[in-house]
Protein backbone atom coordinates (compact mmCIF):
# COMPACT_ATOMS: atom_id res chain seq x y z
CA UNK A 1 0.00 0.00 0.00
CA UNK A 2 1.55 3.23 -0.99
CA UNK A 3 0.05 6.61 -0.41
CA UNK A 4 -0.86 7.17 -4.03
CA UNK A 5 -2.86 4.06 -4.86
CA UNK A 6 -6.12 5.82 -5.52
CA UNK A 7 -6.31 9.00 -7.55
CA UNK A 8 -8.39 11.90 -6.29
CA UNK A 9 -12.12 11.47 -6.69
CA UNK A 10 -15.16 13.52 -6.18
CA UNK A 11 -16.96 12.23 -3.09
CA UNK A 12 -19.75 10.67 -5.11
CA UNK A 13 -17.62 9.89 -8.15
CA UNK A 14 -17.40 6.49 -9.78
CA UNK A 15 -14.36 4.47 -8.89
CA UNK A 16 -11.93 3.48 -11.55
CA UNK A 17 -10.39 0.82 -9.33
CA UNK A 18 -10.47 -2.89 -9.99
CA UNK A 19 -13.70 -3.39 -8.02
CA UNK A 20 -16.46 -1.18 -9.32
CA UNK A 21 -17.77 -0.14 -5.93
CA UNK A 22 -19.38 3.26 -5.97
CA UNK A 23 -19.18 3.50 -2.22
CA UNK A 24 -15.41 3.63 -2.04
CA UNK A 25 -13.64 6.92 -1.88
CA UNK A 26 -9.97 7.70 -1.94
CA UNK A 27 -8.61 6.63 1.38
CA UNK A 28 -5.24 6.86 3.06
CA UNK A 29 -3.83 3.51 4.16
CA UNK A 30 -4.74 2.47 7.66
CA UNK A 31 -1.61 3.46 9.49
CA UNK A 32 -0.73 6.40 7.25
CA UNK A 33 -1.52 8.90 10.01
CA UNK A 34 0.81 7.17 12.46
CA UNK A 35 3.68 6.96 9.99
CA UNK A 36 3.28 10.57 8.96
CA UNK A 37 3.34 11.61 12.62
CA UNK A 38 6.48 9.58 13.33
CA UNK A 39 8.09 10.97 10.20
CA UNK A 40 7.33 14.55 11.16
CA UNK A 41 8.65 14.03 14.68
CA UNK A 42 11.82 12.49 13.25
CA UNK A 43 12.32 15.47 10.94
CA UNK A 44 11.91 18.12 13.65
CA UNK A 45 14.00 16.13 16.13
CA UNK A 46 16.80 15.87 13.58
CA UNK A 47 16.47 19.59 12.87
CA UNK A 48 16.77 20.54 16.52
CA UNK A 49 19.62 18.12 17.15
CA UNK A 50 21.53 19.74 14.28
CA UNK A 51 20.62 23.16 15.63
CA UNK A 52 21.77 22.16 19.12
CA UNK A 53 25.10 20.87 17.80
CA UNK A 54 25.60 23.86 15.53
CA UNK A 55 24.85 26.54 18.12
CA UNK A 56 26.19 24.50 21.04
CA UNK A 57 23.01 24.97 23.04
CA UNK A 58 20.90 22.30 24.67
CA UNK A 59 18.53 20.15 22.66
CA UNK A 60 15.09 21.72 22.87
CA UNK A 61 12.82 18.70 23.15
CA UNK A 62 9.63 20.69 23.82
CA UNK A 63 10.05 22.72 20.64
CA UNK A 64 10.90 19.58 18.65
CA UNK A 65 7.75 17.79 19.79
CA UNK A 66 5.56 20.84 19.35
CA UNK A 67 6.79 21.72 15.85
CA UNK A 68 6.70 18.05 14.91
CA UNK A 69 3.03 17.88 15.77
CA UNK A 70 2.31 21.13 13.92
CA UNK A 71 4.17 19.81 10.86
CA UNK A 72 2.09 16.63 11.12
CA UNK A 73 -1.12 18.67 11.01
CA UNK A 74 -0.02 20.39 7.82
CA UNK A 75 1.27 17.25 6.08
CA UNK A 76 -1.74 15.10 6.92
CA UNK A 77 -4.09 17.83 5.76
CA UNK A 78 -2.35 18.18 2.40
CA UNK A 79 -2.12 14.42 1.89
CA UNK A 80 -5.73 13.86 2.85
CA UNK A 81 -6.89 16.72 0.66
CA UNK A 82 -5.17 15.23 -2.33
CA UNK A 83 -6.27 11.65 -1.70
CA UNK A 84 -9.49 11.87 0.27
CA UNK A 85 -11.11 15.21 -0.53
CA UNK A 86 -11.83 18.40 1.37
CA UNK A 87 -14.21 17.12 4.02
CA UNK A 88 -12.02 14.23 5.07
CA UNK A 89 -9.02 16.54 5.07
CA UNK A 90 -10.79 18.89 7.46
CA UNK A 91 -11.73 15.97 9.67
CA UNK A 92 -8.11 14.81 9.77
CA UNK A 93 -6.91 18.34 10.47
CA UNK A 94 -9.28 18.69 13.43
CA UNK A 95 -8.18 15.31 14.75
CA UNK A 96 -4.59 16.53 14.55
CA UNK A 97 -5.49 19.85 16.23
CA UNK A 98 -7.38 18.18 19.04
CA UNK A 99 -4.53 15.77 19.71
CA UNK A 100 -2.11 18.69 19.58
CA UNK A 101 -4.15 20.46 22.25
CA UNK A 102 -3.69 17.46 24.47
CA UNK A 103 0.08 17.35 23.91
CA UNK A 104 0.27 21.09 24.58
CA UNK A 105 -1.24 20.46 28.01
CA UNK A 106 1.18 17.62 28.70
CA UNK A 107 4.27 19.72 27.98
CA UNK A 108 4.02 22.06 31.01
CA UNK A 109 2.93 19.17 33.23
CA UNK A 110 6.00 17.12 32.36
CA UNK A 111 8.23 20.16 32.48
CA UNK A 112 6.98 21.22 35.93
CA UNK A 113 7.36 17.71 37.31
CA UNK A 114 10.81 17.30 35.84
CA UNK A 115 12.24 20.67 36.93
CA UNK A 116 10.80 20.36 40.41
CA UNK A 117 12.33 16.95 40.94
CA UNK A 118 15.65 17.81 39.29
CA UNK A 119 16.07 21.08 41.18
CA UNK A 120 14.49 19.91 44.40
CA UNK A 121 16.58 16.81 45.00
CA UNK A 122 19.93 18.53 45.91
CA UNK A 123 18.52 19.96 49.14
CA UNK A 124 15.92 17.25 49.74
CA UNK A 125 17.93 15.93 52.70
CA UNK A 126 17.64 15.23 56.40
CA UNK A 127 18.78 18.72 57.36
CA UNK A 128 15.97 20.21 55.30
CA UNK A 129 13.42 18.38 57.43
CA UNK A 130 15.10 18.78 60.81
CA UNK A 131 16.18 22.42 61.00
CA UNK A 132 14.58 25.82 60.77
CA UNK A 133 16.08 28.89 59.12
CA UNK A 134 16.89 30.53 62.40
CA UNK A 135 20.23 32.36 62.20
CA UNK A 136 20.96 30.81 58.83
CA UNK A 137 22.64 33.04 56.29
CA UNK A 138 23.73 31.36 53.08
CA UNK A 139 23.76 27.59 52.77
CA UNK A 140 22.29 25.11 55.23
CA UNK A 141 19.12 25.43 57.22
CA UNK A 142 15.85 23.73 56.59
CA UNK A 143 12.10 24.10 56.36
CA UNK A 144 11.03 22.36 59.55
CA UNK A 145 9.43 25.56 60.84
CA UNK A 146 7.55 25.98 57.57
CA UNK A 147 6.38 22.37 57.44
CA UNK A 148 5.26 22.63 61.06
CA UNK A 149 3.41 25.86 60.34
CA UNK A 150 1.73 24.41 57.26
CA UNK A 151 0.56 21.37 59.21
CA UNK A 152 -0.75 23.49 62.12
CA UNK A 153 -2.51 26.07 59.98
CA UNK A 154 -3.98 23.58 57.51
CA UNK A 155 -5.00 21.30 60.37
CA UNK A 156 -6.75 24.18 62.10
CA UNK A 157 -8.43 25.17 58.83
CA UNK A 158 -9.68 21.60 58.40
CA UNK A 159 -10.90 21.60 62.00
CA UNK A 160 -13.02 24.67 61.25
CA UNK A 161 -14.10 23.79 57.72
CA UNK A 162 -15.05 20.14 58.02
CA UNK A 163 -17.77 20.49 60.70
CA UNK A 164 -19.16 23.69 59.19
CA UNK A 165 -19.00 22.35 55.65
CA UNK A 166 -20.43 18.95 56.50
CA UNK A 167 -23.27 20.34 58.62
CA UNK A 168 -24.11 22.82 55.88
CA UNK A 169 -24.20 19.99 53.36
CA UNK A 170 -26.49 18.03 55.69
CA UNK A 171 -28.71 21.07 55.99
CA UNK A 172 -28.89 21.49 52.22
CA UNK A 173 -29.67 17.84 51.55
CA UNK A 174 -31.75 16.78 54.56
CA UNK A 175 -33.41 19.85 56.03
CA UNK A 176 -33.13 22.79 53.70
CA UNK A 177 -35.98 24.27 51.77
CA UNK A 178 -37.16 27.59 50.52
CA UNK A 179 -35.19 30.80 50.35
CA UNK A 180 -32.48 29.96 52.89
CA UNK A 181 -31.52 26.82 50.96
CA UNK A 182 -31.40 28.69 47.68
CA UNK A 183 -29.45 31.52 49.23
CA UNK A 184 -26.88 29.18 50.76
CA UNK A 185 -26.48 27.19 47.55
CA UNK A 186 -25.97 30.36 45.56
CA UNK A 187 -23.50 31.93 47.97
CA UNK A 188 -21.52 28.71 48.34
CA UNK A 189 -21.04 28.94 44.59
CA UNK A 190 -20.04 32.58 44.90
CA UNK A 191 -17.65 31.73 47.72
CA UNK A 192 -15.90 29.19 45.49
CA UNK A 193 -14.84 32.11 43.36
CA UNK A 194 -13.32 34.30 46.07
CA UNK A 195 -9.70 34.98 45.11
CA UNK A 196 -7.37 33.53 47.73
CA UNK A 197 -5.70 36.86 48.37
CA UNK A 198 -9.05 38.43 49.17
CA UNK A 199 -9.61 35.70 51.75
CA UNK A 200 -6.27 36.67 53.26
CA UNK A 201 -7.21 40.34 53.33
CA UNK A 202 -10.51 39.45 54.97
CA UNK A 203 -8.80 37.50 57.75
CA UNK A 204 -6.39 40.39 58.22
CA UNK A 205 -9.16 42.99 58.34
CA UNK A 206 -11.11 40.85 60.80
CA UNK A 207 -8.26 40.34 63.25
CA UNK A 208 -6.86 43.83 62.87
CA UNK A 209 -10.23 45.25 63.90
CA UNK A 210 -10.75 42.82 66.76
CA UNK A 211 -7.26 43.01 68.25
CA UNK A 212 -6.69 46.65 67.46
CA UNK A 213 -3.23 45.78 66.13
CA UNK A 214 -2.88 47.31 62.65
CA UNK A 215 0.04 45.03 61.79
CA UNK A 216 -1.47 41.82 63.09
CA UNK A 217 0.13 38.55 61.99
CA UNK A 218 -0.89 35.18 63.38
CA UNK A 219 -1.27 31.58 62.33
CA UNK A 220 -4.90 31.34 63.35
CA UNK A 221 -5.76 34.14 60.94
CA UNK A 222 -4.21 32.01 58.19
CA UNK A 223 -6.42 29.13 59.25
CA UNK A 224 -9.49 31.38 59.02
CA UNK A 225 -8.47 32.57 55.56
CA UNK A 226 -7.94 29.00 54.38
CA UNK A 227 -11.32 28.03 55.86
CA UNK A 228 -13.02 30.65 53.72
CA UNK A 229 -11.49 28.91 50.71
CA UNK A 230 -12.04 25.39 51.97
CA UNK A 231 -15.62 25.46 53.26
CA UNK A 232 -17.31 25.78 49.86
CA UNK A 233 -15.27 22.89 48.50
CA UNK A 234 -16.24 20.69 51.44
CA UNK A 235 -19.90 21.70 51.15
CA UNK A 236 -19.99 20.95 47.43
CA UNK A 237 -18.38 17.54 47.61
CA UNK A 238 -20.26 16.40 50.74
CA UNK A 239 -23.53 17.58 49.25
CA UNK A 240 -22.92 15.50 46.13
CA UNK A 241 -22.12 12.47 48.25
CA UNK A 242 -25.16 12.84 50.54
CA UNK A 243 -27.40 13.15 47.51
CA UNK A 244 -26.16 9.80 46.30
CA UNK A 245 -27.60 8.04 49.36
CA UNK A 246 -30.85 6.47 48.14
CA UNK A 247 -34.05 7.68 49.77
CA UNK A 248 -35.12 4.07 50.37
CA UNK A 249 -32.45 3.80 53.07
CA UNK A 250 -33.82 6.85 54.92
CA UNK A 251 -37.38 5.62 54.63
CA UNK A 252 -36.41 2.15 55.85
CA UNK A 253 -34.84 3.77 58.90
CA UNK A 254 -37.85 6.02 59.60
CA UNK A 255 -40.13 3.01 59.26
CA UNK A 256 -38.21 1.38 62.11
CA UNK A 257 -39.02 4.37 64.28
CA UNK A 258 -35.54 5.91 64.24
CA UNK A 259 -35.59 9.70 64.70
CA UNK A 260 -34.36 11.85 61.86
CA UNK A 261 -31.07 12.97 63.41
CA UNK A 262 -30.14 9.40 64.31
CA UNK A 263 -31.05 8.30 60.80
CA UNK A 264 -28.65 10.86 59.44
CA UNK A 265 -25.88 9.99 61.88
CA UNK A 266 -26.26 6.20 61.78
CA UNK A 267 -27.49 5.55 58.26
CA UNK A 268 -26.85 8.43 55.87
CA UNK A 269 -23.38 9.49 56.99
CA UNK A 270 -21.86 5.99 57.24
CA UNK A 271 -23.13 5.22 53.74
CA UNK A 272 -21.48 8.27 52.26
CA UNK A 273 -18.45 8.56 54.53
CA UNK A 274 -15.92 7.37 51.95
CA UNK A 275 -16.95 10.03 49.46
CA UNK A 276 -16.99 12.71 52.14
CA UNK A 277 -13.47 11.85 53.35
CA UNK A 278 -12.24 11.85 49.76
CA UNK A 279 -13.77 15.27 49.26
CA UNK A 280 -12.18 16.61 52.45
CA UNK A 281 -8.77 15.28 51.43
CA UNK A 282 -9.02 16.94 48.06
CA UNK A 283 -10.12 20.18 49.69
CA UNK A 284 -7.10 20.05 52.03
CA UNK A 285 -4.83 19.33 49.07
CA UNK A 286 -6.24 22.41 47.40
CA UNK A 287 -5.65 24.84 50.26
CA UNK A 288 -2.33 23.44 51.46
CA UNK A 289 -0.61 24.98 48.46
CA UNK A 290 -2.18 28.42 48.98
CA UNK A 291 0.43 31.11 49.33
CA UNK A 292 -1.12 34.53 49.01
CA UNK A 293 -3.47 34.56 52.01
CA UNK A 294 -0.77 33.18 54.31
CA UNK A 295 1.69 35.76 53.08
CA UNK A 296 -0.79 38.44 54.15
CA UNK A 297 -1.97 37.23 57.52
CA UNK A 298 0.47 34.56 58.76
CA UNK A 299 3.50 36.47 57.54
CA UNK A 300 6.94 34.93 57.45
CA UNK A 301 9.64 34.18 59.95
CA UNK A 302 12.78 32.10 60.21
CA UNK A 303 11.97 30.51 63.57
CA UNK A 304 9.77 27.77 64.87
CA UNK A 305 6.41 28.87 66.18
CA UNK A 306 3.97 26.35 67.63
CA UNK A 307 1.45 28.91 68.81
CA UNK A 308 -1.31 29.60 66.33
CA UNK A 309 -2.52 32.62 68.27
CA UNK A 310 0.71 34.47 68.76
CA UNK A 311 3.16 35.89 66.27
CA UNK A 312 4.22 35.20 62.72
CA UNK A 313 4.16 31.67 61.45
CA UNK A 314 6.04 30.30 58.44
CA UNK A 315 4.33 27.97 55.98
CA UNK A 316 5.76 25.87 53.20
CA UNK A 317 4.39 27.81 50.21
CA UNK A 318 5.46 31.11 51.76
CA UNK A 319 8.85 29.52 52.50
CA UNK A 320 9.25 28.70 48.79
CA UNK A 321 8.20 32.21 47.87
CA UNK A 322 10.45 34.07 50.29
CA UNK A 323 13.45 31.86 49.60
CA UNK A 324 13.15 32.68 45.95
CA UNK A 325 12.23 36.37 46.25
CA UNK A 326 14.68 37.37 49.01
CA UNK A 327 17.82 35.71 47.79
CA UNK A 328 20.87 36.37 49.93
CA UNK A 329 24.48 36.55 48.83
CA UNK A 330 24.72 32.80 48.30
CA UNK A 331 22.03 32.78 45.64
CA UNK A 332 22.18 29.09 44.82
CA UNK A 333 21.55 28.05 48.43
CA UNK A 334 18.29 30.03 48.47
CA UNK A 335 17.17 28.73 45.10
CA UNK A 336 17.93 25.15 46.11
CA UNK A 337 15.90 25.57 49.28
CA UNK A 338 13.02 27.04 47.30
CA UNK A 339 12.95 24.06 44.94
CA UNK A 340 13.29 21.56 47.78
CA UNK A 341 10.30 23.28 49.40
CA UNK A 342 8.38 23.09 46.13
CA UNK A 343 9.17 19.38 45.82
CA UNK A 344 8.01 18.77 49.40
CA UNK A 345 4.82 20.67 48.72
CA UNK A 346 4.06 18.71 45.57
CA UNK A 347 4.75 15.45 47.37
CA UNK A 348 2.37 16.41 50.19
CA UNK A 349 -0.34 17.31 47.68
CA UNK A 350 0.26 14.06 45.77
CA UNK A 351 0.15 12.09 49.02
CA UNK A 352 -3.17 13.68 50.00
CA UNK A 353 -4.60 12.82 46.59
CA UNK A 354 -3.39 9.24 46.88
CA UNK A 355 -4.88 8.93 50.38
CA UNK A 356 -8.16 10.32 49.03
CA UNK A 357 -8.23 7.64 46.35
CA UNK A 358 -7.29 4.84 48.71
CA UNK A 359 -9.96 5.92 51.19
CA UNK A 360 -12.62 6.02 48.54
CA UNK A 361 -11.58 2.52 47.42
CA UNK A 362 -11.43 1.07 50.96
CA UNK A 363 -14.50 2.55 52.54
CA UNK A 364 -16.93 2.68 49.68
CA UNK A 365 -20.09 0.69 50.53
CA UNK A 366 -19.32 -2.98 50.13
CA UNK A 367 -22.37 -3.67 48.00
CA UNK A 368 -21.12 -1.24 45.35
CA UNK A 369 -18.76 -3.48 43.41
Amino acid sequence: MSLTVTPQQAPTGRSTGPIANTLTAGKLPRFAALWVLLGCLAVTTAFFVILAVASETGFNIAAAVFLGVVLYGVVIWVLSRVVEGTRKAKDRLVTALVSTAFTIALLPLISVAYTTIANGVPRFDLQFFSESMRNVVGAGGGALHAIMGTLLITGMAALISVPVGLLTAIYLVEYGRGKLKHGITFFVDVMTGIPSIVAGLFAFALFALFTGDPGIRMGFGGAVALSVLMIPVVVRSSEEMLKLVPNELREASYALGVPKWLTIVKVVLPTSIAGIITGVMIAIARVIGETAPLLIIAGFTTSMNYNLFEGRMMTLPVFVYTQYMNQGTDVQAYIDRAWAGALTLILIVALLNVIARVVSKLFSPKTGR
Binding site: N21, L23, T24, R87
Partner: protein, 259 residues
Protein backbone atom coordinates in the same frame (compact mmCIF):
# COMPACT_ATOMS: atom_id res chain seq x y z
CA UNK B 1 -33.73 6.81 -6.93
CA UNK B 2 -33.94 3.46 -5.24
CA UNK B 3 -31.75 0.48 -4.95
CA UNK B 4 -31.80 -3.19 -4.33
CA UNK B 5 -30.31 -4.47 -1.10
CA UNK B 6 -28.79 -7.92 -0.84
CA UNK B 7 -27.54 -9.35 2.45
CA UNK B 8 -25.35 -12.46 2.44
CA UNK B 9 -24.69 -14.46 5.59
CA UNK B 10 -24.36 -11.47 7.89
CA UNK B 11 -23.25 -11.84 11.51
CA UNK B 12 -23.12 -8.96 14.00
CA UNK B 13 -20.98 -9.10 17.12
CA UNK B 14 -20.76 -6.96 20.23
CA UNK B 15 -17.22 -7.71 21.33
CA UNK B 16 -17.18 -11.49 21.43
CA UNK B 17 -20.96 -11.81 21.79
CA UNK B 18 -22.78 -12.74 18.61
CA UNK B 19 -25.93 -10.63 18.54
CA UNK B 20 -27.24 -11.52 15.08
CA UNK B 21 -26.48 -14.71 13.21
CA UNK B 22 -26.41 -15.72 9.57
CA UNK B 23 -28.84 -13.38 7.91
CA UNK B 24 -29.42 -13.69 4.18
CA UNK B 25 -32.16 -11.74 2.45
CA UNK B 26 -32.90 -9.56 -0.55
CA UNK B 27 -34.88 -6.34 -0.58
CA UNK B 28 -36.33 -5.15 -3.86
CA UNK B 29 -36.21 -1.49 -4.92
CA UNK B 30 -39.27 0.67 -4.25
CA UNK B 31 -40.74 -1.60 -1.66
CA UNK B 32 -41.42 -1.26 2.02
CA UNK B 33 -39.93 -4.05 4.09
CA UNK B 34 -40.87 -4.43 7.73
CA UNK B 35 -38.73 -6.12 10.36
CA UNK B 36 -40.77 -7.53 13.22
CA UNK B 37 -39.91 -9.65 16.22
CA UNK B 38 -39.70 -9.60 20.01
CA UNK B 39 -37.48 -7.09 21.85
CA UNK B 40 -33.79 -7.89 21.79
CA UNK B 41 -33.97 -10.12 18.73
CA UNK B 42 -31.45 -8.00 16.89
CA UNK B 43 -33.71 -6.38 14.30
CA UNK B 44 -32.62 -2.81 15.17
CA UNK B 45 -28.99 -3.92 15.29
CA UNK B 46 -29.37 -5.52 11.89
CA UNK B 47 -31.05 -2.41 10.51
CA UNK B 48 -28.09 -0.31 11.63
CA UNK B 49 -25.67 -2.56 9.76
CA UNK B 50 -27.43 -1.55 6.53
CA UNK B 51 -25.82 1.91 6.74
CA UNK B 52 -22.97 1.11 9.10
CA UNK B 53 -24.53 3.09 11.95
CA UNK B 54 -23.76 0.15 14.25
CA UNK B 55 -20.18 1.43 14.25
CA UNK B 56 -21.30 4.15 16.65
CA UNK B 57 -21.76 1.48 19.31
CA UNK B 58 -18.37 0.62 20.83
CA UNK B 59 -17.24 -2.94 20.15
CA UNK B 60 -19.82 -3.67 17.45
CA UNK B 61 -18.53 -5.34 14.28
CA UNK B 62 -19.89 -7.21 11.30
CA UNK B 63 -18.98 -10.29 9.27
CA UNK B 64 -20.60 -10.95 5.92
CA UNK B 65 -21.78 -8.84 3.01
CA UNK B 66 -24.35 -6.16 2.45
CA UNK B 67 -24.66 -5.28 -1.23
CA UNK B 68 -26.44 -2.18 -2.42
CA UNK B 69 -26.89 -2.55 -6.16
CA UNK B 70 -23.93 -4.89 -6.08
CA UNK B 71 -21.63 -2.59 -4.07
CA UNK B 72 -20.51 -4.19 -0.85
CA UNK B 73 -20.87 -1.86 2.16
CA UNK B 74 -18.14 -3.78 3.93
CA UNK B 75 -15.73 -4.02 1.00
CA UNK B 76 -12.21 -2.65 1.32
CA UNK B 77 -11.92 1.11 1.10
CA UNK B 78 -15.61 1.80 1.59
CA UNK B 79 -16.25 5.10 3.26
CA UNK B 80 -19.04 4.92 5.88
CA UNK B 81 -19.74 8.60 5.25
CA UNK B 82 -20.62 7.86 1.61
CA UNK B 83 -22.69 4.87 2.65
CA UNK B 84 -24.78 7.01 4.96
CA UNK B 85 -25.39 9.58 2.27
CA UNK B 86 -26.99 6.85 0.16
CA UNK B 87 -28.75 5.10 2.99
CA UNK B 88 -30.54 7.59 5.21
CA UNK B 89 -31.92 6.83 8.64
CA UNK B 90 -34.84 7.94 10.81
CA UNK B 91 -34.66 7.14 14.49
CA UNK B 92 -36.96 5.94 17.20
CA UNK B 93 -37.28 9.32 18.84
CA UNK B 94 -37.45 12.42 16.67
CA UNK B 95 -34.07 14.14 16.87
CA UNK B 96 -34.01 17.50 15.09
CA UNK B 97 -30.95 19.58 16.03
CA UNK B 98 -32.26 21.74 18.88
CA UNK B 99 -30.20 24.81 18.09
CA UNK B 100 -31.21 24.96 14.43
CA UNK B 101 -34.30 26.32 12.74
CA UNK B 102 -36.62 24.09 10.72
CA UNK B 103 -34.96 25.24 7.53
CA UNK B 104 -31.44 24.69 8.82
CA UNK B 105 -32.43 21.24 9.99
CA UNK B 106 -33.61 20.26 6.52
CA UNK B 107 -30.44 21.64 4.96
CA UNK B 108 -28.07 20.23 7.59
CA UNK B 109 -27.06 17.18 5.56
CA UNK B 110 -26.78 18.99 2.25
CA UNK B 111 -24.70 21.81 3.66
CA UNK B 112 -22.04 19.29 4.69
CA UNK B 113 -21.12 18.68 1.07
CA UNK B 114 -22.30 21.67 -0.81
CA UNK B 115 -21.34 24.78 1.04
CA UNK B 116 -22.01 27.30 -1.69
CA UNK B 117 -25.64 26.63 -2.39
CA UNK B 118 -27.56 29.58 -3.72
CA UNK B 119 -30.40 30.85 -1.60
CA UNK B 120 -33.03 30.03 -4.21
CA UNK B 121 -31.69 26.48 -4.58
CA UNK B 122 -31.73 26.08 -0.84
CA UNK B 123 -35.31 27.36 -0.56
CA UNK B 124 -36.37 25.08 -3.35
CA UNK B 125 -34.79 22.07 -1.70
CA UNK B 126 -36.36 22.93 1.66
CA UNK B 127 -39.78 23.17 0.07
CA UNK B 128 -39.34 20.00 -1.93
CA UNK B 129 -38.13 18.01 1.07
CA UNK B 130 -40.82 19.31 3.39
CA UNK B 131 -43.45 18.65 0.72
CA UNK B 132 -42.03 15.16 0.42
CA UNK B 133 -42.43 14.70 4.15
CA UNK B 134 -46.01 16.11 4.14
CA UNK B 135 -44.90 18.87 6.45
CA UNK B 136 -44.73 21.88 4.16
CA UNK B 137 -48.24 23.17 4.73
CA UNK B 138 -47.86 23.02 8.48
CA UNK B 139 -44.52 24.82 8.78
CA UNK B 140 -44.15 27.01 5.69
CA UNK B 141 -44.88 30.14 7.76
CA UNK B 142 -42.30 29.41 10.44
CA UNK B 143 -39.27 28.00 8.68
CA UNK B 144 -36.96 30.10 10.82
CA UNK B 145 -38.36 28.90 14.13
CA UNK B 146 -36.51 26.18 16.06
CA UNK B 147 -37.31 22.62 15.05
CA UNK B 148 -37.70 21.59 18.65
CA UNK B 149 -40.85 23.72 18.90
CA UNK B 150 -42.84 21.32 16.72
CA UNK B 151 -45.02 18.50 17.98
CA UNK B 152 -43.51 15.00 18.20
CA UNK B 153 -45.13 13.83 14.95
CA UNK B 154 -44.08 16.99 13.13
CA UNK B 155 -40.54 16.62 14.45
CA UNK B 156 -40.40 13.09 13.13
CA UNK B 157 -41.57 14.24 9.71
CA UNK B 158 -38.95 16.99 9.89
CA UNK B 159 -36.36 14.29 10.46
CA UNK B 160 -37.70 12.43 7.43
CA UNK B 161 -37.48 15.65 5.41
CA UNK B 162 -33.90 16.05 6.60
CA UNK B 163 -33.13 12.49 5.52
CA UNK B 164 -34.66 12.83 2.03
CA UNK B 165 -33.05 16.24 1.45
CA UNK B 166 -29.70 14.54 0.80
CA UNK B 167 -31.51 12.37 -1.81
CA UNK B 168 -30.61 8.93 -0.51
CA UNK B 169 -31.44 5.67 -2.27
CA UNK B 170 -32.68 3.85 0.78
CA UNK B 171 -34.36 5.07 3.96
CA UNK B 172 -34.07 3.05 7.15
CA UNK B 173 -36.62 3.67 9.88
CA UNK B 174 -36.02 2.40 13.38
CA UNK B 175 -39.44 2.23 15.08
CA UNK B 176 -40.25 5.70 13.77
CA UNK B 177 -43.69 5.82 15.39
CA UNK B 178 -43.03 4.32 18.80
CA UNK B 179 -42.80 7.73 20.48
CA UNK B 180 -45.82 9.18 18.66
CA UNK B 181 -49.56 9.35 19.25
CA UNK B 182 -51.98 7.46 16.94
CA UNK B 183 -52.80 10.44 14.72
CA UNK B 184 -49.16 11.32 14.13
CA UNK B 185 -48.50 7.63 13.51
CA UNK B 186 -51.14 7.60 10.81
CA UNK B 187 -49.54 10.63 9.16
CA UNK B 188 -46.17 8.89 9.10
CA UNK B 189 -47.69 5.71 7.72
CA UNK B 190 -49.35 7.64 4.89
CA UNK B 191 -46.03 9.28 4.21
CA UNK B 192 -44.25 5.92 4.02
CA UNK B 193 -46.81 4.84 1.44
CA UNK B 194 -45.92 7.87 -0.69
CA UNK B 195 -42.16 7.66 -0.18
CA UNK B 196 -42.28 4.11 -1.53
CA UNK B 197 -42.74 5.55 -5.02
CA UNK B 198 -39.18 6.82 -4.92
CA UNK B 199 -37.23 5.10 -2.20
CA UNK B 200 -36.49 1.67 -0.89
CA UNK B 201 -37.74 1.67 2.67
CA UNK B 202 -36.87 -0.64 5.53
CA UNK B 203 -38.79 -0.18 8.76
CA UNK B 204 -38.40 -1.81 12.16
CA UNK B 205 -41.63 -1.89 14.10
CA UNK B 206 -43.11 -3.45 17.20
CA UNK B 207 -46.58 -2.80 15.96
CA UNK B 208 -47.85 -5.69 13.86
CA UNK B 209 -50.83 -3.79 12.52
CA UNK B 210 -48.41 -1.18 11.28
CA UNK B 211 -46.29 -3.81 9.58
CA UNK B 212 -49.33 -5.29 7.88
CA UNK B 213 -50.59 -1.84 6.85
CA UNK B 214 -47.48 -0.34 5.34
CA UNK B 215 -45.16 -3.11 4.19
CA UNK B 216 -44.94 -5.24 1.07
CA UNK B 217 -42.65 -7.80 2.61
CA UNK B 218 -42.07 -8.73 6.21
CA UNK B 219 -39.11 -10.34 7.93
CA UNK B 220 -39.66 -12.03 11.27
CA UNK B 221 -36.69 -12.20 13.66
CA UNK B 222 -36.47 -14.22 16.85
CA UNK B 223 -34.06 -15.38 19.52
CA UNK B 224 -33.92 -18.80 21.08
CA UNK B 225 -33.31 -17.31 24.54
CA UNK B 226 -31.34 -14.66 26.35
CA UNK B 227 -27.67 -14.72 25.44
CA UNK B 228 -28.41 -16.45 22.13
CA UNK B 229 -28.00 -14.64 18.82
CA UNK B 230 -30.99 -13.27 16.93
CA UNK B 231 -31.94 -15.04 13.70
CA UNK B 232 -34.10 -14.39 10.67
CA UNK B 233 -36.92 -16.89 11.02
CA UNK B 234 -39.10 -16.13 8.05
CA UNK B 235 -39.08 -13.62 5.23
CA UNK B 236 -41.99 -13.44 2.79
CA UNK B 237 -44.75 -11.24 1.42
CA UNK B 238 -46.55 -9.45 4.21
CA UNK B 239 -49.84 -11.12 3.36
CA UNK B 240 -48.22 -14.52 3.59
CA UNK B 241 -46.58 -13.75 6.92
CA UNK B 242 -49.79 -12.55 8.47
CA UNK B 243 -52.22 -15.05 6.96
CA UNK B 244 -50.31 -18.16 6.16
CA UNK B 245 -46.83 -18.31 7.70
CA UNK B 246 -44.81 -21.46 7.19
CA UNK B 247 -43.03 -21.40 10.54
CA UNK B 248 -44.82 -22.08 13.80
CA UNK B 249 -42.96 -19.35 15.71
CA UNK B 250 -44.05 -16.73 13.20
CA UNK B 251 -47.63 -17.78 13.51
CA UNK B 252 -47.43 -17.67 17.30
CA UNK B 253 -45.91 -14.20 17.19
CA UNK B 254 -48.25 -12.57 14.67
CA UNK B 255 -51.28 -14.07 16.34
CA UNK B 256 -50.15 -12.64 19.64
CA UNK B 257 -49.40 -15.89 21.40
CA UNK B 258 -46.01 -14.65 22.58
CA UNK B 259 -43.72 -11.65 22.29
Amino acid sequence: MSKRIEVNDLNVYYGSFRAVEGITLEIEPRTVTAFIGPSGCGKSTFLRTLNRMHEVIPGARVEGEVLIDGNNLYGPGVDPVLVRRQVGMVFQRPNPFPTMSIKENVLAGVRLNNRKMSKSDADELVEKSLQGANLWNEVKDRLDRPGSGLSGGQQQRLCIARAIAVSPEVILMDEPCSALDPISTLAIEDLIEELKQEYTIVIVTHNMQQASRVSDKTAFFNIAGTGKPGKLIEYADTTTIFSNPTVKATEDYVSGRFG
